[in-house]
């Protein structure tokens, strides 16, 4: 048996412009030995859920700078569930006001990361969140 790999979908939903942050995280995850499926800008929740299904990922990382997180995150979670992918762990990076963080976690988002988060922290959290599923 070959070593199992953590597969992560990194997506940028919403209409805001750049994906520098998402790319930095994608590279860090690769350097931590994960397989990162990078889907680029302007992804709809439907596109994200479908890609997560086809790629059979363990983790979906959403980069949201537009402020639309309270609309996008529940939609992605709901679609993952519809697709029988409720085991997929969802993480969000972006500029998220403090009062929304708890609300997102209550919905089922595993981690929320603002500017200044180290990539080590994200990597550690991902490993912890899926450790139960890897063997």
């Amino acid at each position: 048996m070959t070593e199992k790999k953590i597969r992560v979908l990194v997506a940028k939903p919403g209409l805001d412009g750049h994906d520098r942050g998402a790319k930095v995280v994608a590279r860090a995850l690769r350097d931590a030995g994960m397989e990162v499926i990078y889907t680029g800008l302007r992804q709809t929740p439907e596109m994200i859920a479908e890609a997560a299904l086809q790629e059979d990922v363990d983790v979906v990382g959403l980069s949201i700078l537009s402020g639309a997180h309270m609309a996008l995150a529940p939609k992605v979670l709901e679609l993952l569930k519809t697709n029988q992918q409720e085991h997929v762990r969802v993480f969000i990076g972006g500029i998220i006001p403090d009062e929304d963080i708890q609300a997102l976690k209550d919905m089922g988002v595993v981690g929320v990361y603002g500017p200044g988060t180290t990539t080590e922290e994200i990597i550690g959290d991902i490993r912890k969140a899926i450790s139960g599923r890897l063997n």
Partner: protein
Amino acid sequence: MNLAASILEGNRLAIARLMTQVENDTVEGLAGLEAIFPHTGQAHLIGVTGAPGTGKSSLVNQLARCFRHPPPGKEPCRVGIIAVDPSSPFSGGAILGDRIRMRDLAGDPGVFIRSMATRGSLGGIAKATSGLIQILDAAGYQTIFIETVGAGQAEVDIARLAHTTLVVEAPGLGDDIQAIKAGILEIADILVLNKADRPGVESAETALRSALRLASSNETRSQHPEYIEGNQADDSTVTSNKVWSPPIIRTIAIDGNGIEVLAEKIEEHRCFLKESGEWKKREKLRLQSEVDALLQRTLMQQWRDKMSVMLYEKILSQVTNRKISTTNAVKLLMNGDNIQ
């Protein structure tokens, strides 16, 4: 969920899950492949290779759209896509970015896209690539594109795996065209000159053409290196004297220019393979090389399981001390129990 049964019904979740099992080389993965194998062999496998950034993913995106929305009177076929990117040799991780160019296909239930990393395989193909192809084939995807970054051995690998191989070139790659043309001529069924909107198309096409001409005057063309041998062995059984000379097709993948012509050529090549008997020959070679690769891995594994690590290290150190030769070392290792 019985993965194999669900796959034959086209269940996408089952397809994705079995692909993961096959990539991880699990017992469940092997059993699944075993169960679906009788249902494979239907799909047209199209390899797409070429230097990084030549526009392979953009082309696959356009071609898939074209196969999904054919001209009136033709049935659309279901399209599977496997996009292979290299794993980092340092971390074992990978960034798989080909989906970025395939946005147009999102939301179409007749398309299935899977990205995969090479996971330590040399060349451009992962150990599990042929397994993933079989899964899509059994699930009823009639046209399957396999995208790999072309570099040396990788191109030969993809040609062995596919029925039809597209080699993608783009102007402005400088002398690269010169450097890889030998490889191209051996494996390309269709040469795609993409980015035809860019300066330098003319000279790129001239270079490709003269290289092709040179090759066809040197020898009677043979599509794959293996065929040279094969043809000599059973010349009398060659079913037809039809030959295929690889066309050069100009495309602009960002706006779809030339894509219909390319799609027609691909279809033409499929018909050529079927009518000339070449399809059967390629199928045989394809499966043979799969069996051989598997046999090689299995033998190696069996041998490793029996071999004592200490003995292996001991013999290795005798080699490094120049006490025994590498050839002798292998002899000793092959009958490990006879030595002390």
